[in-house]
């Protein structure tokens, strides 16, 4: 048997050392830091040079979870992310449909402008916006943070749905018109379900990225509006107790983990790849 005649047989019979190597490297790069953080979250005493902590325990969980500011921050984060995602969807999805299906003057320039907000160093942009917000009395308000975070979701929520809408076969929509559906009905019954999985992935990504967004939330929201990531940073900055940060990190993983599980189910049929123009 030569590799030329039966490449598939070779793959199964001979051990794939290259694959194993990459798997190990990836595990080290991705999993080890996660493992360290999780370990820290359940550690009470861990002194150098010991490899494993001297004392495990849930003391810091207790100390973290009894704090009112943690629960406030979590509640604010969820409200913020939900509001931003909803607004972003309301604004961006019709816009994405327009970009995908309609021809209007300046279409390409408009389209690129969404990318432009990501082409600048973000912090510079944020400071400039913060100066404007200061005049508008939006600093340290809920809606100020909503607005700033909305800006950073625009690209994701425009570009992926545009690709999703463009991937919908025009003739499917025409066939629906043909059997008697109004344009609105076509959008609702044909276009949206066809583009659905990809759009759902975009919505999910928007929610998660908003949930973890720190720079904007910190610059515009502090000190009144403290989101979970901002709170975590302040913990790490103010007290050199690693466990607080670690516990919060583990708590913060929960929503993204749920989101990713959802995304996996929805996106398994290749909708996500479509979203990126594949």
């Amino acid at each position: 048997m030569t590799s030329r005649s039966a490449p598939f047989a070779i793959r199964s019979s001979r051990f794939d050392w290259t694959g194993l190597f990459f798997a190990i490297v990836l595990t080290i790069v991705i999993a080890v830091p996660l493992l360290v953080v999780v370990t820290w979250a359940f550690t009470e005493v861990w002194r150098y040079p010991s490899v494993i902590p001297q004392q495990f325990g849930l003391r810091y969980w207790q100390q973290t979870l009894v704090r009112a500011d943690v629960w406030d921050a979590l509640w604010i984060s969820i409200r913020l992310s939900a509001t931003v995602t909803l607004l972003s969807a309301i604004i961006c999805l019709p816009a994405a449909y327009a970009f995908a299906r309609m021809k209007f003057p300046g279409r390409d320039i408009f389209f690129l402008s969404f990318l432009a907000s990501h082409a600048f160093p973000k912090f510079g942009l944020l400071v400039a916006i913060a100066a404007i917000f200061l005049k508008l009395d939006l600093i340290a308000t809920f809606w100020g943070v909503v607005l700033i975070q909305l800006v950073s979701t625009l690209m994701l929520m425009i570009w992926i749905p545009v690709a999703a809408f463009q991937a919908v076969d025009r003739r499917m929509e025409e066939a629906a018109r043909d059997v008697g559906a109004s344009p609105l009905r076509v959008f609702w019954s044909i276009t949206l379900p066809q583009a659905g999985p990809t759009i759902f992935a975009a919505v999910l990504l928007t929610f998660v990225s908003t949930f973890y967004e720190t720079e904007g939330a910190w610059l515009i929201g502090a000190p009144q509006i403290r989101t979970m990531p901002v709170l975590m940073i302040s913990y790490i900055n103010n007290q050199i107790v690693v466990q607080y940060g670690a516990v919060l990190s583990v708590i913060l993983w929960v929503p993204s983990f749920i989101a990713l599980m959802f995304a996996r189910r929805v996106v398994s049929n290749g909708g996500f790849a479509k979203g990126f123009g594949a």
Binding site: D169, M172, E174, A175, D178, V179, A181, I190, Q194
Partner: protein
């Protein structure tokens, strides 16, 4: 349910309902411009009740644009479309009594077969039992009874097109529009499906417009063929007329295989090599068009006649490729009784011909088969 709805619906229920939906389509001076170019230029056509008319033309001839305008997917620049006398020119697709079948079947992949067909009925707010009955009837009509629960991706290409046909027919449209529906199928399937579609169309008696660039399809299915070029109508006739009496040089060359001999008519005679035909036309340039089956060959002496380049035996007939005067290539279909070897000389002896000038037919004629010549006797020549 103890009794299946298919049993409840008497055989042929579909047809009787459809008889009331037969309709006449009238197209008047239809024009569609994209910028400066006219995709469709002053196109008029009447399609009768139950007639199947084929729009045939090369790509870019405007045939699909005409169909899409009838379906309501393109707005005419000018002109009028009437169905049963009602002006539908400005109506959106969802308010037209037309049903379109698309080249790429365009089934909705997030719905199963049943829901694909039922979608239009649901929009019309029919009762559930009624919808079920109609969908099953439609599935049976296209030979897919029991396929309702399948997903569309589980079907073969031919089955997908059948579902698309059922989806259009279930709404009992007055006009059925088919936009190259078999283009994506292989040859064998295409032939089978076009027979089935023709059979269903005749059974329902539904007025149908069919777009294709395949002349076989047009000749096999149509009651009448409309040959289009550059958005303009070249000829509208029954398939045999379009084939045997093409009214323009373009149609002559587009449908079937045709030999063209170009010469100048002088003194009422058309001369090409040693071929000389008396024509009752004014002197000037002319094109003589002869089908391979109407071009007889006779053995020629010495350096006269045309040179045989190739002779291909198809069993029932032999196709002879020749090079005539001035390097003109011609094809002749002869009977296997007389063989012409490569390099030998043959005299061209046309029996049926058309004469064209400026793309129009100006004369046509028939010549007796000369003695010693060999050709296939075809019933059309004596008809």
């Amino acid at each position: 349910m103890a009794v299946s709805p298919r049993v409840l619906a008497p055989e042929g229920a579909f047809e009787t309902e459809s008889e009331t939906t037969m309709a006449k389509l009238t197209i008047e001076h239809l024009r569609k411009s994209f910028g400066a170019t006219a995709a469709v230029d002053d196109f008029s056509l009447d399609v009768d009740d139950g007639e199947l008319v084929c729009l045939l033309g090369p790509s870019g001839s405007g045939k699909s644009t005409i169909l899409r305008m009838i379906g309501g997917f393109e707005h005419p620049t000018s002109g009028t479309l009437r169905i049963d006398g009602q002006d539908v020119t400005r109506l959106p697709p969802e308010r037209r009594p037309t049903g379109m079948m698309f080249q790429s079947h365009a089934l909705w992949s997030h719905m199963n077969v049943f829901n694909n067909i039922a979608f239009g009925l649901k929009l019309r707010r029919l009762a559930r039992a009624e919808i079920r009955r109609k969908v099953e009837e439609a599935l049976e009509l296209v030979g897919l009874a029991g396929y309702g629960n399948r997903q569309t991706f589980q079907l073969s290409g031919g089955q997908q097109q059948r579902v698309a046909l059922a989806r259009s027919l279930v709404l009992e449209p007055k006009i059925l529009l088919l936009d190259e529906p078999f283009a994506s199928l292989d040859q064998h399937l295409r032939e089978r499906l076009r027979e089935e579609v023709r059979e269903i169309q005749q059974r329902l008696g539904i007025t149908t417009l069919f777009v294709t660039h395949g002349q076989d399809e047009a000749l096999a299915m149509a009651d009448r063929i409309v040959v289009l070029r550059n958005g303009q109508c070249e000829q509208v006739d029954a398939p045999d007329i379009v084939y045997r009496q093409p009214q323009t040089e373009f149609v002559a060359g587009f449908i079937g295989s045709m030999n063209f001999l170009r010469a100048t008519v002088e003194g009422g005679r058309f001369r090409h090599g040693d071929l000389s035909i008396a024509l009752d036309v004014a002197d000037g340039p002319a094109v003589l068009a002869i089908r391979p089956e109407d071009l007889g060959l006779a053995p020629a002496e010495g350096e006269t006649g045309a040179t045989v380049l190739r002779s291909t035996d198809f069993g029932s007939h032999i196709m002879v490729d020749l090079e005539s005067e001035g390097g003109v290539r011609v094809k002749a279909m002869t009977s296997p009784a007389l063989r012409f070897d490569k390099g030998s000389r043959a005299k061209l002896a046309p029996t049926l011909y058309g004469v064209y000038r400026d793309n129009r037919l100006i004369a046509s004629g028939r010549l007796p088969a000369s003695p010693g010549e060999c050709k296939i006797n075809r019933s059309v020549q004596t008809a």
